[in-house]
Amino acid sequence: MINLSKLKKLSYLSKLSKFNYLYKLSNSDSSTKQRQVKLCHVVLVITSAMIISGCNSSSSNETSKETEQPQAAYTFVSLLGGEATAIDASDSGHGFSTPMPNLTAEELDKHLTGDTHFETAFTTAPNNEHPDLDGLGPVFNNQDCNSCHQRDGRPSTITLAEGESRVLLGSNAGIFLRMSIDDGECLVPSVENNYCKNVGVDGFGTQLFHRGVLKARDDWQENPFIGQANVYLSYEYSTVTYADGNTVTLKKPMFTIEKPYDVAPENSLNSAILQANVRYSPRNGMPIFGLGLLELISEADILALADENDTNNDGISGRPNWVFDPVKANNNDPIPVSLGRFGWKASTPSVRVQSLAALRGDMGITNPLFPEESVVNTPLHESYLARTGFVDTGTDEQGNTEATQQFSDEVVFYAETLAVPARRNINDESVIAGAQLFTQVNCTGCHQPDFITSTGELLVGGLAAPEVLKGQHIYPFTDMLLHDLGEGLADNRRDFTANGQEWKTRPLWGIGLTKTVNPAAGFLHDGRAADVEEAILWHGGEAEQSKNAYMALAEAERQSLIDFVMSL
């Protein structure tokens, strides 16, 4: 648990001056960048060995052929978050966990308090010794934010022991299932279609809470600590073969649901969540740094990249998700709909909605934006309240929620203001070559390299935006849009206006530190990819062409492209 520290503030201020010095030397603003590109003589050196250190290439004795071509503008950019890039942490497991260095002292204070909240483990109510920390569940997926966002990154992918065919999702799991009733597509949110909100499963809702407090269920004495149902994970394996004969084994998580609470064990197939019209989507935790910057990319800049009908015929469309916005609804906005920005399918409009929905949903901690338990009015909740004396209703006699407004604001601010790690190995020859290949195979068709965040009087999540987020030249490598990634990755469940094959382009900044932060982390929405190569190979649909182009590269070139991605 990292705590509020006056000294940290002082050291931060001293870091700030150092940072300004470094920043001036860096090339993350466009004018300096152009200068640097000139400095590099716009020469791309492709050597047969691909491993010899760069920069003095003209004096190298290696046999090489030189091809003059313009270098991608992002090739030597180090500070991916602009002034909000981390210092002295970008090579280690602390890379996702440092405050933006350009926060004011007061903001840093708030950020560090939010940090403690992020690691707060909630317990069953009533906890007389720690009333401020109770209210967990009664059904939930995990007990604290950090368990699904380990060290502010991705959670561990669950692996199976030899001879084990499946594993029960428990406290180790940073993954859960969303679910809803299949009702076709929903393209234009309106009051008539309930703003394209997903329709929950009767008695369950839109998220399967596989864990519980001790007495969450009627049958708690036989099934202690179980939530709405048990969920088991297993894997289906397949092999991909490159033209050169190299192979990669891919794994795909499969889920089975047992012991649903709504029916007797002998009738489990009658459960509402085991019916044919229920759609599931696994959701893994994701890194939480740099999010405030993404929220301040102007809507116009994102929509300018959309090409819903593929008018340029490049095989890539890209369209926004339009989602219900509870902040707007609370403010009585007549059209409580916003551009979706966060989550695997861009189904939440702001860090605030994403974070506080997770607090209420994933952990069962009610808060002023989401004052009712997710499972309110379900038979499980009614029976739990009756059995435990109505002490854990989600609100007290005064109407206060389990998390206060202040707690909510602080934890949201924390997630808005974590610094983006800087790049590594930017001068490595293979990384430089990979940066060009990244454009060549059109990864940039969706992984849009850069944006400049908005300036002026702005709101994030309904509150005034911190100045530190504004006007930054950032390199997140995402267009913030939805793309059809094919059947292999499809969850076949719509989410607001996103269909069952669409996913939001993931930001790639910091991705190379994923396993430094958590060596057991996996990639993609269900953690199925063990590394970047596997993640690329899962791309299909609109990304099929780019994947094929990647697969057609020589082995050394494929490695270069991965080296570039790992340098981010």
């Binding site: 648990m1 990292i2 705590n3 520290s5 006056k6 000294l7 940290k8 050291s11 001293s14 470094l22 030397l25 860096s26 640097q36 400095l39 003589h41 491993i51 010899i52 250190s53 920069c55 003095n56 030597f76 180090s78 500070l79 002295d88 942490a89 090579d91 280690s92 497991g93 602390h94 483990a121 317990t123 069953t124 109510a125 906890n127 010794e129 720690h130 109770d134 368990s147 030899e162 428990g170 406290s171 180790n172 864990r211 407090v213 001790l214 007495k215 004495q221 202690p224 600590f225 590594r424 190995n425 930017i426 001068n427 430089i432 190379g512 396993k515 430094t516 958590n518 060596p519 790992m566």
Partner: protein, 381 residues
Amino acid sequence: MIFKKSLLAAAISALVLTACGGSSSDSETPVVEETSFSFEATEMITNLTNDVIVAGYQNLNDGATDFLLATQNLVNTPTEENLALAQQAWKEVRVPWEQGESHIFGPVDALSIDPHLDTWPLNTSDLEALLASQASFSADELKTFNDDVQGFHTMEFLLFGDGVEDNEKSIDEMTTLESEYLSAAAEVFKTYTQSLLDAWIVANDPNDANSPAYKDLLLTTNNDIYASQLGVVEELINGMIGIVDEVGNGKIAEPFGSNIDNIDTSKVESQYSWNSLADFTDNIRGVQNVYRGEFSGQADKAGIIDFVNAADADLATRVDTEITDAIAAIEAIAGDNDLPFRQAINDADARVRIQAAIDALSTLQTSFENDVLTKLQDWQQ
């Protein structure tokens, strides 16, 4: 690979800087600060990995074995003496765990060992309900329970009582079911300490025998975890900063409050055993282990102090003294009357000593953040 890195080091002039320095004009070339220094880190990283981190986890696992045995003896022969021995074994296994909090990274996180072993606070509501409703407990069953009804603090509560009036529990106050739960929890605990050790020395993914031992990822960098030795050293320094911050600004400052009318005993770490001052001291001893490169009383080996010394000899000594001072200041909190932390926060004289400990930790944290961590930018690998 070393050759490649040295080539790179020669070619690039500053850590964060863009490429092709060799081809740029003098006016464009960033100035190399004269504070740059060389240090060959392999011996230090090898020593800290094997003889501090792994050795510490070995000690933890050995302590867990002794503790499990003590709880089994207590179940089989529930005497006052065996209860006292189990209490003592709990305090002893707590030592390597708390010292290891100076390097919370890798498998301890990835395998969720930290929450399994040390979730705080305890879920007294569920624990008491379990004890009131079940007739027996097994380790296999307990392993499926939530983290907040197992691990150190659950076992502490069962061994020492609620800690409100005292930290003594007589054998008459311990039910058979409580001792059974305690022993099952100790058995689960031992499986986790073994997993942690194995992840470092055998395979970091316990389900994949071909995955590298985590220690090898530190010893041979240029892998998916650590691109270079810079990352390892950065990890170790930031790890020390993390625990110094947590002890000074969290574990001590939060229960201490802004004044004597604003204390919060519910936030005291080991509030049932009254072992908190030992916890805090061991946390900072863990920092000392990493900084010096050896456990207290062992022969001198390479540690972060040697890295700092290569950059600034005075700083290396100053930080070593500040660590020693911080440990002494925490130990001094107990005073002549041996006050536990839980009582000390409510004692005017002791509060002066607590403030002194907070100040000593603050001084140390500032040095680490402003003077030691920043040396990474001057290091020419």
